[in-house]
């Protein structure tokens, strides 16, 4: 199968097309995960830490946990609504 190396340096190891696609998918997944975490941090900070105190209260901590769960759930609901062809 095809293989190729970085255009900028001839000394780097050659990648098979399969390895290339695996690496691409892995690295994209990592970028998506980091961005998702950044989003969840922002949203849950807004919702749960309204008046920052000298430490995180019990209600703030449990709010954060619930918020993460709900945000993940919301992502699923939106995903389904956008891509489910049977919905009208």
């Amino acid at each position: 199968m095809d293989s190729f190396s970085s255009p900028s340096s001839g000394s780097s190891p050659r990648l098979s097309a399969e390895d290339f696609m695996d690496q691409l998918k892995t690295q994209l997944a990592q970028v998506y995960a980091e961005e998702f975490l950044e989003t969840v941090r922002g949203k849950c900070f807004d919702k749960c830490i309204t008046k920052p105190g000298s430490s995180l209260s019990g209600s703030e901590s449990s709010c954060i946990s619930r918020c993460v769960d709900r945000y993940i759930e919301a992502t699923g609901i939106i995903s389904k609504a956008l891509f489910s062809a049977s919905q009208r």
């Binding site: 691409l24 998918k25 690295q27 970028v31 961005e35 849950c44 945000y71 609504a81 956008l82």
Partner: protein
């Protein structure tokens, strides 16, 4: 908010594009990943907007039926709106 092009760049792969284009099988796979990245971005953007519109109280241990209906409706109305905008824009020529 990073676009899918930035995501591909962050994954360090945009520099390989001219190499990939010489292999049609690989180019096809690469375009599939690009399409997935665009869809991921759409879901991400719509979820952010609809979360703000629909989840007004402190998050609970589950969504109320009105909250989940709002999220679902919000996503569909967003798509309806996108179509209107596109048609309107196209009719301006």
């Amino acid at each position: 908010m990073k676009s899918y092009r930035e995501k591909f760049n962050m994954a360090g792969f945009l520099k390989y594009v001219h190499c990939i284009s010489t292999s049609s099988a690989l180019w096809h796979l690469f375009k599939q990943e690009k399409k997935k990245a665009m869809l991921n971005e759409l879901v991400s953007k719509v979820t952010k907007e609809c979360w703000d519109k629909c989840i007004t109280d402190t998050p609970g241990s589950k969504f109320s039926s009105s909250e989940s209906a709002c999220l679902s409706n919000c996503a569909r109305r967003y798509m309806d709106m996108s179509i209107i905008i596109m048609k309107r824009f196209q009719s301006m020529h």
